[in-house]
Amino acid sequence: MSRHGYTYSAGKLLRHGLTRGAWPRMWGRPERRDSYEVVIIGGGLHGLATAYYLAENHGITNVAVVDKGYLGGGGSGRNTAIVRSNYLTPEGVAFYDRSLHLYNTMAADLNLNVMLSRRGHLTLAHTDSALRTMNWRAEVNKFLDIDSSVIGPEEVKRLTPSLDVSTDTRYPILGALYHPPGGIVRHDAVVWGYARAADHLGVHLLQETEVLDIVCAGGDGPEGKGPGGRVTGVRTSRGDISSPVVVNCTAGWASLISNMAGVPLAITTHPLQAAVTEPCKVFLPTVVVSGSLHVYVSQTDRGELVFGASVDPVGTYRVNGTLEFTEELAGHVLELMPGISKMRLMRQWSGLCDMTPDYSPIMGHTPVEGYLVDVGWGTYGFKAGPVAGETMAETIATGRTAELIAAFTIDRFTDGDLVGEKGAAAVGH
């Protein structure tokens, strides 16, 4: 046994294979307590990471993570699993770089192979203005010691031979922002790794437990909710839980949960769609993104191409996907790689993204005491999961907003201090 419970290793695989003995559960289905020190709403990557770091870094283990469904059933399991830190603003770069660092050591830290593949991340530029934005990002990145640079079409071709770099196309590849440490991770494994570790440290993972209301006192609004008040607990489909700290770690439902505390958010919810092809022999070595063409693509170790795009233009909570997404996606992918038209798209799905006006999250304390948010992640939630958990845990445990998230305060909209990430965000995966 280790601090994460049963230790996985090649030796254990061997022993279980020989004895055909059962593997222990990765996490339990605990009985709910009536009160916790901290209640985290949302059993996805952010909620689980926050719980884990509360327990691991700050010794706060009397924590419940509640989820209306199963672990990682929302955005955590629906994203395209890309990690990178080549953002545009210094705030963004510092934050995501810390996240990438946590991803780098995660397999060892959590004793679960999350299959991080730092295969290199290419953001293609098809126009002068896109190239200028790439240069801007590269210059900010380099200044902050991020491995990031603008490369020409020949180098793009060398790194990813299946890309068409000829100049007579509608969207010629003029260059690319190249970020060698960027790559992909097995997203579900990240969720399971945090869940398993948090569970072992004593955190209660309460699945199929839906939060129906957040109970407040002393606030300006009805039922004591709203600014000036404080949180006393949550009402769930499996009974009431009292807690002085309630953390909203949801995506797709952040507005609805936050309204329960009387805290409106600068969020609109849009679906982000993704799709995967049938497997084929591996030929695509890097993660390729094109902002102008609204597409990103990588190939899994199983040989499937995984595609994503920008969020749907019409806000909705529907996650059943659209045909036009697959049509545009295929068209754009074939502009980049005309040779793969005979690959078949096998499955499409979508997840919900909470979009903020400046494409940056809303994190930390709110006007309701004890109610904290870690929301508004737009399309960046997966990349940020580890650092969001770490900084939220620090903020909860110390009562002071962690330095890395100071720019992401809820007040910035009314104060007029938006973060400048939007410029690079059209499709910034």
Binding site: A10, K12, L13, G17, A22, P24, R25, M26, W27, G72, G73, T105, A107, A108, L112, N113, L116, R118, H126, T127, D128, R132, N135, W136, A138, E139, V140, S162, R170, T277, E278, P279, C280, K281, V282, T300, R302, G303, R318, N320, G321, T322, L323, E327, L329, A330, G331, L334, P338, G339, I340, S341, K342, R344, L345, R347, Q348, W349, P357, K422
Partner: protein, 952 residues
């Protein structure tokens, strides 16, 4: 060579008079028209078609149709072709996939030796340290084992794909008896019908039935094909149903396109896909020679292929019983029929490379080379799931049934229940009538609401209730897994044992189990596997099937090629009336949004110098142009621009900048007043569309009382800028009755006139380049004439065309900022230096409160002119301005060029306000990491800041 081909069968699809030659792994084979790849190979005695994904065990025919997980092959450059349904074509080159070096000798079989260690999710539990081994070794090895065929990315092309739209009243998915009957009755009720069948011919399961079935099939098929109201699409698949009955059909039978995507807005969708037979889980169930009853029936009856010589049949239903009869009629010795309804069972199949013996539940071992199972059905409810249904498990019938459907989606046939052919067609007919009735009501409403349509002559058809008599649900034993463990997912090599292990580790909901074990994640997307997986999970949790639920079936119903989805790629491009001239005269093009335009004609620096010294002409047609008419135009301009417009006189032009409601600079341009109630507004090229829509928004929703008509005229007026000290002289040679002198036609004014004989030209005098210049807007049908006249009449003046790059140099020398380049998504009016322009005391302006707030701030970045101290150093655009000491970014270079006029580098830059005062020395970090110093200038303009040249 067709050693297993049977004598003629009455329902066979093959045309024995034809002979198609093809290769399989390099060896030549032959088959007949009507054969599938698999049937032709099976007739020739081929038993192994592929290898399992993980353990590389040999795989043979399992279902002999589209869903067969073992029959994915490579055909030429097309990977993952379904050999169970793809019809044979002469000359096909077919190879096995996922084998190395060959199908027969596959080194991957070594994995079998370590199979017991490769349990579900094994890869999550090892390779954690050391990290470098994971990156450099393990992962590369794993990637080598990726399954699937080869994509020919080097040589492949995006071929002749197209799409089309359709608007049928009724679309029927599935051309079996119920589907055909539904299509007929819908058409008889007056609906337009599209009938889509996955196979190349109609009939569904009737095709492999007895004489009675074949007779019904012939009658229905004839009636369907001869009905003009029915469009029949065979070899086509309904791949998705989306909101508001938007339905995707992939047509493979098109005479021109290899695959055509049809996008149909459907009144009523009838879902009649029949049922998918599910495999049985037991030890050895993936051995070649283990087949489903349906596979045997198809092989024997459709393709006259003898599937084995000694058979054991496990039958839980009539399909299994019928398979016994078919086998006997084909001369196969049926060694034993095990009746699953009576509790008989199979616990294992053994053999090397093919079944040689079968172990029964009562302990017997039977010698056989064929084991046929008929253990029940999966309802392929994908399209219903996509319509919001959550099918419910019925224990008695041992399968799922639709629960509740929206009015515009109806189910019939096997997916809805059981019945004789007569009962199925009767249900189909009733479903067709109901669907037609509902669709025709919708069509009536659509005609009423659509102004261009023929107004309906009659009242809408009456609403009729759904009085269909439901199909019955025949009892069927719940048989999913034997007492032994076997494969649940054949494409993913996931066994029932893996699933039970996963549940024990906490992955005990179907979605978590799916993600952990990858069950149902393969190309079949769970058609064969989902129900068995749920059954194993129910078993491991000791709960009812109904409590498990199933994974949500997502689109597409069957995989679709990227080529079909992309179709013809439409990427509109815009060309000015002069673009042909530019290209014929050596222009290097630039793509700017949708526009194609000349970047330069060879030497941008020479072009720029010529403008400063002589005269140049540039095509600036992409500039957005809006014709504004009406008494309230000035009010509108006051609202949308930050400056004031009420006092602009007729004949005058003014610069205006726009901000959005959040105060961020959004667009700019000049607007001229042509007559009392007539203005011409220009916008940036990229902002033209957005500004037009924005004006309409304010006029329609905010000030509907204002009388303004907005007409976009961007392409109708070709815009030619004539710039340079000799521009007046040049233009003077071409205009009639127009005095170009400084007094008569001062800076920032506009005139209408005739240029080179072309009437209705609009000329305004502005100075983006910083030189004396005239922008001439010419009706586009005559623009080339004017352009050529300018060149022809100015050779003595040194006239030459210049492109976008020279213009960028010139405007930077002059210090004009470009919205979106020198400003960004956070730049407010003070940053752009609009302090002198903005009027905060207007009644209303877009973004007024933010404008006021912005001018009270002292911390906003400032746009400044900047010159590197070393004049030959041109910092790249986007280079960061950093603190000389410490680690702080204080700004960035937004524009930079070498100035041909000053012979030195010049920049615009956004800097922290502390660096904004003229004379401040700043530090620029170059792309290569070097740092250089630069000095902030007093003006944005580097050349002629007083504006003398443009005012002459």
């Amino acid at each position: 060579m067709s050693i297993h081909r049977l004598p003629i069968r009455s329902g066979e699809l093959i045309d024995r008079s034809t002979n198609l030659s093809f290769t399989w792994n390099g060896r030549t084979f032959s088959g007949h028209e009507g054969d599938t790849i698999a049937s032709a190979l099976a007739a020739a005695g081929v038993e192994v078609f592929s290898r399992g994904m993980k353990y590389h065990r040999r795989r043979g025919i399992l279902t002999a149709n589209h869903w067969d997980p073992n029959l994915a092959v490579q055909v030429g450059d097309e990977p993952n072709v379904r050999a169970g349904s793809r019809r044979l074509v002469d000359g096909m080159e077919v190879t096995a996939q996922n084998v190395w070096p060959s199908l027969r000798w596959d080194l991957g079989t070594a994995n079998r030796l370590v199979g017991r260690f490769l349990s579900a999710g094994f890869y999550y539990k090892t390779f954690m340290r050391p990290q470098f081994l994971w990156h450099n070794l393990y992962q590369r090895v794993l990637r080598k084992f990726a399954p699937g065929g080869r994509v020919h990315w080097k040589t492949g092309v995006h071929g002749e794909y197209d799409k089309r739209y359709a608007h049928p009243d009724v679309l029927v998915a599935g051309g079996g008896p119920a589907g055909m009957a539904a299509a007929l009755s819908a058409a008889e009720a007056g609906a337009s019908v599209m009938l889509v069948e996955q196979e190349p011919e109609l009939g569904g399961h009737l095709r492999w039935g007895g004489p009675g079935d074949l007779a019904v099939l012939a009658d229905l098929s004839r009636a369907v094909h001869s009905n003009p109201g029915i469009e029949v699409l065979c070899d086509s698949i309904v791949t998705g149903r989306y909101d508001h009955n938007w339905v995707a059909v992939v047509q493979r039978s098109h005479p021109v396109a290899p695959e055509r995507l049809i996008k149909a807005r459907v009144g009523s969708l009838i879902v009649a896909p029949g049922l998918v037979e599910r495999p049985y889980v037991f030890a050895g169930n993936d051995l070649p020679g283990v087949m489903l009853a349906g596979a045997v029936r198809r092989l024997v009856n459709l393709w006259a292929v003898k599937p084995g010589s000694r058979a054991v049949v496990l039958s839980a239903n009539s399909e299994g019983d019928a398979a016994v009869a078919d086998l006997e009629s084909a001369g196969v010795e049926v060694v034993a029929v095990l009746d699953a309804r009576a509790g008989e069972d199979v616990v294992g199949a053994r053999g090397r490379g093919r079944v040689s013996s079968v172990q029964t539940g009562d302990g017997r071992t039977l010698r056989a080379d064929l084991l046929v199972t008929a253990t029940g059905w999966t309802a392929p409810t994908s399209l219903l799931n996509m319509a919001g249904d959550r099918p419910l498990y019925d224990r008695t019938a041992a399968r799922y049934f639709p629960q509740s459907l929206p009015d515009n989606v109806l189910a019939t046939g096997g997916i809805a229940g059981d019945g004789s052919t007569t009962e199925l067609t009767a249900h189909g007919r009733e479903t067709g009538s109901l669907a037609a009735q509902r669709a025709l009501r919708l069509r009536h409403a659509r005609r009423t609401q659509t102004p261009r349509s023929l107004p309906p002559e009659s009242d809408p058809p009456d609403e009729i209730a759904d009085n269909r008599i439901p199909l019955r649900r025949s009892p069927h034993p719940e048989r999913y897994r034997s007492t032994t463990h076997g494969l649940v997912d054949f494409s993913e090599d996931v066994s029932s044992k893996d699933l039970i292990q996963a549940a024990g580790e906490g992955f005990d909901s179907i979605e978590l189990m799916k993600r952990y074990t990858t069950v149902t994640m393969g190309p079949g997307q769970g058609k064969l596997e989902t129900v068995n997986a749920a059954a194993v999970l129910a078993e491991s949790r000791a709960v009812e099937m109904a409590d498990i639920g199933t994974t949500v079936w997502r689109p597409p119903f069957s995989p679709v090629s990227l080529g079909a989805l992309a179709g013809r790629i439409f990427e509109p491009v815009r060309r000015s009336a002069l673009q042909g001239w530019h290209e014929a005269n050596g222009a290097t093009n630039l793509l700017a949004g949708q526009w194609v335009r000349p970047d330069h004609y060879g030497s941008p620096m020479t072009e720029a110098s010529n403008v400063r010294e002589n005269v140049g002409i540039i095509d600036v047609t992409p500039l957005g142009k809006l014709d504004l008419r009406g008494p309230d135009v000035a009010n509108l301009l006051d609202l949308v621009y930050v400056n004031r417009w009420q006092k602009l006189e007729v004949g005058r032009v003014r610069y205006g900048a726009m901000v959005a409601e959040d105060g961020v600079v959004s667009d700019d341009g000049v607007t001229g007043r042509l007559a009392d109630n007539h203005y011409l507004m220009t916008t940036t090229s990229s902002g033209a569309g957005a500004v037009w829509e924005m004006l309409e928004d304010w006029l329609q929703t905010y000030r509907p009382d204002w009388e303004v008509h907005v007409t976009p005229v961007t392409g109708g007026l070709t815009s030619i800028n004539v710039a340079g000290p000799r521009s007046r002289e040049l233009l003077g040679r071409l205009v009639e009755d127009l005095d170009l002198s400084a007094d008569a036609f001062p800076y920032f004014s506009v005139r209408k006139g005739i240029v080179s004989g072309v009437e209705d030209c609009i000329i305004w005098r502005i100075g983006f380049t910083g030189e004396l210049s005239y922008e001439v807007h010419v009706p586009s049908g005559h623009a080339l004439h004017v352009w050529e006249s300018l060149l022809a009449n100015g050779s003595d003046l040194g006239v030459a065309p210049f492109g976008v790059e020279a213009q960028r140099v010139l405007r930077l020398e002059k210090g004009h900022y470009i919205v979106g380049q020198d400003t960004d998504g956070l730049s407010k009016a003070p940053t752009a230096g609009l302090g002198g322009l903005v009027k905060l005391d207007k009644a209303d302006t877009i973004g007024l409160p933010e404008l006021r707030a912005a001018f009270e701030r002292t911390d906003l970045p400032v746009l400044v002119g900047l010159q590197p101290d070393e004049p030959t150093v041109v910092p790249d655009e986007a280079c960061q301005i950093v603190a000389a000491e410490g680690n702080e970014i204080l700004g960035r270079v937004t524009s930079s060029r070498m100035s041909p006029t000053l012979k030195r580098s010049i920049c615009l830059a956004q800097v922290d306000p502390s660096l904004a005062p003229a004379g401040t020395s700043v530090t620029i970090q170059l792309v290569d990491g070097r740092r250089v110093s630069a000095t902030v200038q007093e003006h944005h303009a580097h050349v002629d800041p007083e504006g003398v040249r443009q005012r002459v």
